[in-house]
């Protein structure tokens, strides 16, 4: 059902004629089926480009009044960035794209939803600061990654996960009120995430970020870390063959291959105990090979020509030091740990690729090359617990995944999981990335089977290895493992979004 002329005019009066459209060709840009999701998306009835929190609040109130679903979108590369029913609108935050403040003294940046990583990251880096960008491309929204989704990144070993970098929040509630949490609500600035009393931020935002989707976050403050490295990253070359040049005295990259995940676990814990290295991670070997190649054909040559074996269980380590002495000290510990745990350095020509791309943001931008294989993909097991627990979870994958990889139901890469230790191995996240042939009509049923086996294994072995679902079947399947979070989320939603108009 399309919007009535009168209602469309009301929306247009809020955002201005140039910032709203219901032309079919404009709507086409936000309803296309994407390869990872087998079903077609619903079409919104209009797309609006609000310019301020006040405009967002007015839109939300109008949606509530007329029972219209609203969905907030920035990059649009996550499955929840689409309308889910007829009688809906999309709010796109392209215009709300200001970096409002970068406070170098208190180390935070205040941003709007439309600010992308490719904009904030170099701005803070110029000031000797950094933050943990989630593993999305350069066009990903910083605010969405930090406030609304649970994505992790590969640099977190020496820092923490993106959601822990969230400070003050301004949001428009599902009822259309502008709410400020943390130190903001007492007029004490942006730098503190909480203030006395219940954590309103956590209640409203929900455990599951975008899956909770209560209202629209319109501004956040992001905590910043000191950055070990140059203020500007020197690069050479033409796409896709760019190279990064780091200060070789202070920056080194090593990649070791292991045979047993428990040995990787011991290495991670030992390095964490010594509090050395900037980045330590057990990386996916399938994306790793893809990132090192320029086309699917080149990938196939290298994957079947030795990369699969050479990179079967890679531990990637980046040392970022303030001085040559510090680097040498960390190297000594690293090599001792690797020797004691049975790691072997991969061939130099493969390691060199990492060295030439070793700004993690650049690595992440290459991560999109996973999609070069033209199939579909799904992160599974995206959980976070202790390093040992995550390694045990990943070890268990081998007990069932071969039924799928050996039979061609999914891509034959049984060890394609990553483990990212955080806060110097005080805890870790994991992720199993499976890929399948999107042209295979049975592929989705195989994926469903794999998901069921995976969840059953987790339940049987008491593994906390998946982000809990907050609604529907996913909530039923995993919510009980997490203190019935699906029940609580349902109640929160009833309380804060009585009309269920914020899209889910």
């Amino acid at each position: 059902m399309s919007l009535s002329e009168e209602l469309y005019r009301e929306f247009a009066a809020i955002v201005g004629e140039k910032n709203i459209s219901r032309e079919e060709y404009i709507l086409a840009g936000n309803r296309a089926q994407t390869p990872e999701i087998p079903m077609a998306h619903k079409s919104a009835d209009a797309i609006l480009l609000p310019g301020s929190a006040e405009e967002v609040a007015q839109i939300v109130r109008l949606c509530n009044k007329h029972r219209i679903e609203y969905v907030g979108v920035v990059a649009g590369c996550i499955p929840t960035a689409y309308s889910t029913r007829e009688n809906s609108i999309i709010m796109h935050f392209k215009r709300m794209n200001r970096i409002l403040e970068i406070n170098e003294e208190d180390r935070y940046a205040v941003i709007e939803p439309g600010v992308r990583h490719i904009q904030l990251y170099p701005e803070v880096r110029k000031r000797g600061l950094s933050y943990t960008a989630a593993a999305v491309g350069p066009g990903g929204s910083v605010l969405v990654n930090i406030a609304c989704t649970g994505g992790d990144h590969h640099v977190q070993y020496g820092t923490s996960r993106p959601t822990r970098y969230l400070l003050g929040v301004e949001m428009v509630t599902p009822e259309g009120e502008i709410l400020r949490t943390g130190s903001l609500q007492t007029g004490s600035g942006w730098f503190c995430p909480e203030s006395p009393g219940p954590s309103l931020r956590s209640i409203v935002k929900g455990y599951a970020g975008n899956a909770g989707k209560l209202g629209i976050v319109t501004k956040i403050a992001v905590a910043l870390d000191r950055c070990k490295g140059p203020a500007e990253i020197r690069t050479e070359g033409i796409s896709p063959h760019h190279k990064v040049f780091m200060d070789s005295d202070c920056s080194r990259v090593y990649v070791f291959n292991y045979k047993d995940i428990q040995d990787v676990c011991r290495a991670m814990l030992a390095l964490g105990e010594a509090e050395v290295c900037a980045t330590v991670q057990k990386y996916f070997y399938l994306p790793l090979t893809l990132m090192m190649t320029d086309s699917a054909n080149e990938f196939w040559k290298k994957w079947t020509g030795g990369y699969k074996e050479a990179l079967s269980m890679p531990l990637v380590v980046h040392i970022a030091a303030h001085s040559l002495r510090e680097r040498e000290y960390e190297e000594k510990i690293l090599f001792d740990v690797v020797r004691e745990t049975g790691g072997e350095r991969i061939p130099r020509e493969l390691e060199k690729w990492w060295e030439e791309h070793m700004d993690y943001f650049m690595i992440v931008s290459r991560l999109q090359s996973v999609l070069r294989l033209g199939g579909s993909w799904l992160p599974q097991k995206a959980g976070a617990e202790s390093v040992q627990h995550m390694c045990d979870v990943c070890e268990s994958i081998g007990t069932y995944i071969h039924d799928f990889t050996d039979t061609g139901k999914i891509f034959d890469a049984p060890e394609n999981y990553q483990i990212i230790p955080m806060e110097y191995s005080h805890f870790a996240s994991n992720e199993l990335l499976i890929m399948w042939d999107r042209t295979d009509p049975k592929a989705m049923s195989y994926v469903g089977e794999l998901g069921a086996v995976s969840r059953a294994t987790d339940a049987k072995r008491h593994f906390y290895s998946s982000s809990p679902g907050v609604a529907g079947k996913a909530g039923e399947a995993t919510g009980r493992l997490y203190s019935n979070v699906h029940v609580w989320m349902g109640r929160i939603r009833e309380a804060f979004d009585p009309f269920y108009q914020s899209g889910l």
Binding site: T34, L49, A81, V115, P138, G139, D294, F361
Partner: protein, 415 residues
């Protein structure tokens, strides 16, 4: 019947990652100058981007979307500059630019070619040039005593710009003569046809290109030199799609860089130190790679059989213009944030269908040029020149590289 079906794999592979809209991390600089797509920067909707045009193409292919004037204006307002394509291909095996061309072909075949484009195409059909001017005027402003080598197998292709601004052609002639390059000019040359191809008028483009290619063959031409980026990109990327091309194409900056390296072209300095920034024309840079046809099968997990050659923008002409500028004593060259394969488009291709968008796009480029501290922005494409030298006061002035170089050739007497 448009080519849309050929790009089904591309259309179905897009996951809205956003790489087509934002600068690659290797060139990241800050909040400003981070966008690469003019229509996205201007209008903000996702549909106004490479991703959005793919989505429209898919709905057209599946017969779910009908053309409208607004859609045609957007599809032709897109400058088809190729920035989205290069960025997408930095990580993907997709043919975004080719899909945009196919969408324009579909637009023309559906009867929605914008009126301004239809008029220009008609000019080319009637007169062999974009401007609809009488062909006999083409060489009228060249010197009467111009001496050519009638036996040379190299031609200086003058392009449609000779009608409006013969100074560039005269400068190219001066460079070639000073460097001792044997060349000739063909009286019968016609528009290179790039305009027609980009407008989606495939048959007319093929006819136009075929006439020039036939002329080159008949005249024994083995090398085509041009001072126009549009003609250069057309010969290298569009001609191989429709005709045999037994000739090599070189841009005047490539020739000049070779002459300078060989010591055959000597230069004098600028009157005073001059800081310049160079703007990469799309058709000389990322869109100028030689087209290699591919027909085959895309199997599971992206395997292309037979193996496909990918144009990813890596082999455009980026260094010769810079070499030339740096060779002129007194010139300091500063790069903009978005340069080489990541260059922001000048916007000229939108001038006919969306003048506001064109002005915005050019304005952005001039602002970026001024940000470098340069006194002038230099380029070597007549359409970039039009876009980057609008009326009124601008933050930087525009210089044509060919003319600038010719003005700094040191004559024997000076030496």
């Amino acid at each position: 019947m448009s080519d849309l079906n050929r790009f089904r794999y591309t259309m179905e592979s897009c996951n809205h990652c956003g790489q087509c809209k934002w600068i690659l991390p290797s060139r990241m600089w800050g909040w400003d100058f981070a966008e690469v797509c003019p229509i996205h920067a201007r209008y903000g909707f996702d549909a106004c981007s490479g991703q959005g045009l793919l989505n429209m193409a898919r709905e057209r292919m599946e017969n779910k979307l009908q053309w409208s004037e607004g859609m045609a204006k957007l599809v032709h307002g897109c400058t088809a500059c190729g920035a989205c394509d290069v960025n997408c291909k930095s990580v993907r095996d997709m043919e975004l630019q080719e899909t945009i061309y196919a969408l324009r072909q579909d637009c023309a075949e559906s009867g929605f070619l914008p009126e301004a484009k239809r008029r220009t195409a008609e000019n080319i059909r009637k007169t062999g040039n974009r401007h609809g001017l009488p062909p006999e005027e083409r060489l009228a402003r060249l010197p009467e005593d111009l001496t050519e080598d009638e036996n040379a197998d190299t031609v200086l292709f003058l392009g449609c710009d000779i009608y409006r601004r013969p100074e560039t052609a005269l400068a190219a002639i001066r460079i070639l003569k000073a460097g001792g390059v044997r060349f000739r000019i063909l009286r019968e040359e016609r528009c290179c046809g790039a305009y027609l191809w980009r407008a989606g008028l495939r048959e007319q483009a093929a006819e136009q290109m075929g006439q020039n290619a036939r002329l080159f063959r008949e005249q024994g031409i083995r090398t085509v030199i041009t001072a126009c980026a549009e003609c250069f990109g057309s010969f290298r990327n569009y001609y191989p799609r429709v005709t045999e091309t037994p000739f090599e194409t070189k841009h005047i900056t490539q020739i000049a860089a070779e002459l300078i390296r060989d010591g055959r072209l000597r230069l004098r300095g600028t009157e005073k130190p001059l800081t310049l920034t160079y703007h990469d024309p799309c058709m000389l840079g990322r869109l100028s790679e030689t087209y290699v046809p591919w027909e085959g099968e895309i199997r599971s997990y992206g395997l292309h059989v037979p193996e496909k050659h990918w144009n990813r923008g890596e082999n455009g002409v980026y260094d010769p213009p810079r070499e030339v500028l740096k060779a002129i004593p007194g010139v300091t060259l500063k790069e903009m944030v978005r340069y080489k394969e990541e260059a922001w488009c000048c916007g000229a291709q939108a001038q006919e269908t969306d003048p506001d968008l064109a002005a915005f796009t050019a304005g952005e480029r001039l602002r970026e040029a001024a940000f470098t501290g340069a006194e002038a922005i230099v380029s070597c494409c007549p359409y970039c020149r039009d876009a980057l030298s609008p009326e009124g006061e601008q933050p930087v002035r525009y210089l044509d590289l060919t003319e600038f170089l010719a003005a700094h050739i040191r004559e024997e007497a000076e030496a």
